[in-house]
């Protein structure tokens, strides 16, 4: 064989680094793209929401505000004053301008500015959502990795069936079960969230325990199954065996070598699920009579209070899209192919 070392010299044909895969964009470009996409999504939500809450004729809206008995001319005057006869795009633009500047309109039921009803409740909703996420994410991902490291064992199989069953339960049923066990039979925790308004500090914290537990249990099976799947895949990759064969310890191999690669798809999948599951705050607030914007949302839909519905839809939309934006940006941080500029 012609094996002179010159063959191996840097200039040899095989050794020219080839450009691989897609063109790599700088990080800032990625972030701009993510933010633009999410703004577009919000725009779609706002259009849909505005459309859905403006289907009624101007007179019907006026009648809902002024009362059933109001005469026709008064209705028309009311509608005209509020620009209800304007074309759809103009009304949308006016509303959007108001919303962005903090004016959410007037509630049809309480006759107060929607913002006054919504903002105090927003705090409770945020506490509920953030506390649930902060507990659910590490616990579920930890459980998923725990299962992946024992993939195929009896423990793993039982836990998998357990997650299938838990994932089949609606939040309100998980919540009812928790109320029965901890509220009715054991009597440890309050069955609803009235303590939040009338109790002391301890009662206020206590009022959140069952709602947070409900949401955590609702998210747990989904997120731990995704984590298990990504971790199993990464742990089976040849580079993991290669790292073990270099003498690295098993924790180091799992977290540094395997999970670093499992992270980007995991973050993406988890974000989609979190957006799906955060819908649960609405259900949980309703179940525990917890005064948050979810509870107000359901009440407003029932009462046909369109300004309130529209505003709360937008706030929830912003919350949920915010989660995806954070996740998407995390992905670019984790993925070296997007990192190398």
């Amino acid at each position: 064989m012609t094996t002179d070392a010159q063959r191996d010299a840097p200039g040899a044909a095989e050794e020219t680094p080839q450009p691989r895969g897609r063109v790599r964009y700088p990080r800032t470009w990625q972030v701009t793209k993510i933010v633009t996409t999410s703004m577009l999504t919000l725009f779609v939500i706002s259009l849909l929401a505005f459309f859905a809450t403006n289907l009624k004729s101007p007179e019907d809206v006026a009648r809902a505000a002024l009362g059933r008995e109001t005469a026709e001319p008064a209705l028309v005057a009311y509608a005209e004053e509020r620009g209800l006869y304007d074309p759809f795009p103009i009304r949308y633009a006016v509303w959007l301008g108001d919303f962005v500047t903090g004016d959410m309109g007037t509630s049809l039921t309480t006759q107060r500015p929607v913002a006054d009803d919504v903002l105090p409740r927003l705090r409770n909703t945020l506490i509920l959502a953030i506390a649930s996420l902060v507990i659910a994410l590490p616990v579920s991902i930890g459980l998923g990795v725990f299962m992946a490291r024992r993939a195929g064992s009896r423990t793993d199989m039982s836990l998998l069936v357990g997650t299938v069953i838990l994932a089949s339960l609606p939040e309100f049923i998980i919540g009812v079960a928790l109320i029965l066990v901890f509220g009715v039979w054991l009597g440890w925790l309050p069955v609803d969230s009235t303590g939040l308004q009338f109790g002391n500090a301890m009662a206020k914290v206590g009022a959140f325990i069952l709602p947070v537990m409900t949401l955590v249990l609702a998210m747990l099976p989904h997120i731990s199954r995704i984590s298990r799947a990504s971790a199993t895949e990464a742990l089976g990759a040849p580079y993991v065996a290669a790292a073990q064969l270099r003498g690295l310890g098993s924790m180091r191999v799992t977290w540094d070598h395997a999970m670093r690669n499992a992270a980007p798809p995991l973050v993406n999948a988890v974000a989609l699920n979190v957006v799906y599951l955060l819908g649960g705050v609405i259900v949980v607030e309703q179940l525990f009579a917890l005064p948050g914007i979810g509870q107000l949302y359901i009440a407003s839909i029932g009462a046909g209070d369109y300004p309130a519905v529209l505003s709360i839809t937008m706030i929830l939309g912003i919350m949920f899209i915010g989660v995806s934006v954070v996740a998407d940006i995390l992905v670019t941080v984790f993925n070296p192919r997007l990192r190398a500029g």
Partner: protein, 599 residues
């Protein structure tokens, strides 16, 4: 055979896979071997023979489900198989290193290569700061990575496949190991890259004296790179000895049959496959090769056969070692290119992938005569497969045309007349994805009969399918089986039966043997050559393997970067290539019969 001072001495190694139900499936039995300082030991065998399992077990690595039943593997007197996982970690990457087949997957894609090299250095040698950095740079230099300083900051995907394997080797030798294990380190790489990596390994072994085990399915490659060879069959070493012993003519019937199935790029020679399939586990009370051996006598199946030392320093596990069988491999006479006009006429084809701007094919022109076999060779990315898809009407070219029997063809298969579609059949590379898993063999092979063969009535279909299966040397009882129940070689022969069912005049073969073991590849080549000769079918045979092309083709076309570099009668092309690229390709091919070795 093994001195006490050898760095790694493996004795009586027996390994099993644990199956559900608790029964162990023994896959490696009673392996003895010793790795010597400054030597490369080659471990050869077909897929599933237990060679990789042996290599991993020898360094104490237990993949999930693997159990080491007996044996010792001593590194300087310490039995690795008796160590705890924690103790083993102190050896791995330090005194014992392992390089896996595919560096693209064995390097962590999310970690910069500098860090990947640094990890064992920090862990085992406690290097840090400037010393660490100097060693990192030195290592990359040793494996000839250009600009090592800046390379440290890059990620694996920013290197070519060959470079990635070099980096993996750099990590393996980082701590100056006494033993290096390489598992198919160049499989999947282009032949020119492969030869450079072999040369690098020889250089490192000479320089550092590391005792090396080189595992490969490629006997020819091993004969050029190794000092000693061991051949495995069904979990046992059937023959081992100095490489000269093998070059002089191996003793075990399996080794000889294996060599007969390896096509040669140096001479035009027919290949013959080994009938049957290897057993999937160790056969304990008989010769495992007996059912496929043409020298078999009754004693072969009565008891297990011992590995017996021979006069020339080799050892053979056969009762009839050194007896030669009747089967001989013919040297094919040069077939003169068929006279008569072109059957297939490819004129100035250019093509690109959808959405891409770069061309995969530029101005490719050639003809295929009736009854002729044309080989198309090139390395990966040369456009040879796309060319075949253009001819088959699966990839419309951007310019150029294909004529069949003087008739211009539409770019898309659907728009071509039925007779033409029947007359031109294509067989793909991967037997696992080219058969619909939901159809039985009878349905698969019967479909072209219904579409193209008006002479076959519905009642006759089954009979014709059986005839076709017989032609491709498949038993009739697979008629109602599904692809998942067939081996790779069987699936590829079903593909051939389906292609021949349409009575084609041109058969397009896209790397049809590259996913198969050599002995199976030989059978497939035999089948294609025999049927093509018998029916006068023309064949366009695309392959990256020059030896295969030399074996089967009358004429050959060499492609590079979407262009034809050189074409001509196979013999002429291989004996006196005119273009530098063809010469380079030919020089890079390892050949068993050459016996020259890099050192």
């Amino acid at each position: 055979m093994s001195g006490q001072s050898d760095p790694l001495v493996v004795k009586d190694l027996t390994v099993a896979y644990r199956r559900r139900g608790g029964v162990d499936n023994v896959v490696v039995a009673g392996v003895d071997m010793a790795l010597r300082r400054g030597e490369i030991m080659g471990l050869a065998g077909e897929s599933g023979c237990g060679k990789s399992t042996t290599a991993l077990a020898a360094i104490g690595y237990r993949a999930p489900g693997v159990r080491i039943l007996t044996g010792t593997s001593a590194l300087d007197g310490t039995d690795l198989l008796g160590l705890s996982a924690r103790q083993l970690r102190g050896f791995w990457g330090n005194r014992l290193s392992y390089v896996a087949q595919n560096a693209t997957t064995a390097l962590n894609p999310a970690i910069r290569i500098g860090e990947q090299i640094a990890q064992p250095l920090r862990l085992h040698l406690g290097l840090k700061g400037d010393t660490l950095r100097a060693r990192q740079v030195e290592l990359l230099g040793q494996v000839h990575i250009p600009a090592p300083e800046s390379a440290l900051r890059r990620y694996p995907h920013q290197f070519s496949g060959g470079q990635q394997q070099r980096i993996a080797i750099a990590i393996a030798i980082a701590c100056g190991p006494e033993v290096l294990i390489l598992d198919e380190p160049t499989t999947g790489l282009d032949v020119t890259t492969q030869s450079r990596i072999s040369a690098l390994l020889r250089e490192l072994v000479t320089k550092t004296g590391v005792a090396t085990l080189y595992v490969s399915h490629d006997l020819a490659l091993l004969s050029t790179v190794a000092d000693r060879l061991a051949v495995m069959y069904a979990g046992e070493i059937v023959e081992q000895g100095p490489v000269e012993h093998f070059l002089a003519g191996p003793s075990h019937p399996y080794t000889r049959a294996l060599l007969d199935s390896v096509p040669s790029a140096r001479e035009r020679r027919a290949v013959s496959g080994i009938p049957g399939r290897p057993p999937l586990r160790v056969v304990l009370d008989a010769c495992a090769f007996a059912p496929r051996c043409d020298l078999v006598v009754e004693a072969c199946t009565q008891s297990s056969i011992e590995l017996v030392a021979q006069a020339d320093g080799s050892a053979v596990r056969c009762l009839r070692a050194n007896e030669r069988s009747q089967r001989s491999v013919r040297t094919l006479e040069q077939v003169s290119t068929t006279e008569g006009g072109a059957l297939l006429d490819v004129r100035a084809i250019s093509a690109r992938y959808p959405g891409a701007t770069a061309q995969v094919l530029s101005d490719v022109t050639f003809t295929v005569a009736s009854g002729e076999t044309l080989g198309v060779v090139g390395e990966s990315g040369s456009g040879k497969s796309t060319l075949l898809r253009c001819i088959a009407g699966l990839h419309p070219p951007i310019s150029g045309e294909v004529a069949f029997d003087g008739q211009m063809l539409a770019a898309k298969a659907v728009r071509r007349p039925r007779e033409i579609r029947g007359r031109m059949q294509i067989v793909f590379q991967n037997p696992d994805t080219s058969l619909n898993p939901r159809q039985s063999v009878a349905q698969l092979v019967g479909r072209p009969l219904r579409l193209f063969r008006d002479d076959v009535s519905r009642g006759d279909e089954e009979r014709v399918v059986l005839e076709l299966l017989d032609q491709v040397q498949l038993p009739g009882d697979i008629l109602h089986r599904y692809p998942s129940e067939l081996s790779g070689g069987q699936k590829q022969r079903v593909n051939l039966a389906r292609a021949f069912a349409a009575k084609p005049r041109v058969l397009l073969c896209d790397e049809v043997t590259s996913a198969l073991d050599v002995s199976v590849q030989a059978t497939v080549i035999e089948v294609i050559a025999a049927i093509a000769a018998e029916t006068g079918t023309s064949v366009v045979f695309v392959s990256h393997d020059l030896a295969v092309v030399r074996t089967i083709a009358h004429r050959a076309v060499v492609m590079k970067d979407g262009r034809i570099v050189e074409q001509g009668p196979t013999e002429q092309l291989f004996r006196s290539p005119e273009q530098p690229y063809t010469q380079e390709l030919l020089a890079a091919i390892p050949d068993f019969h050459r016996g020259t070795r890099a050192s």
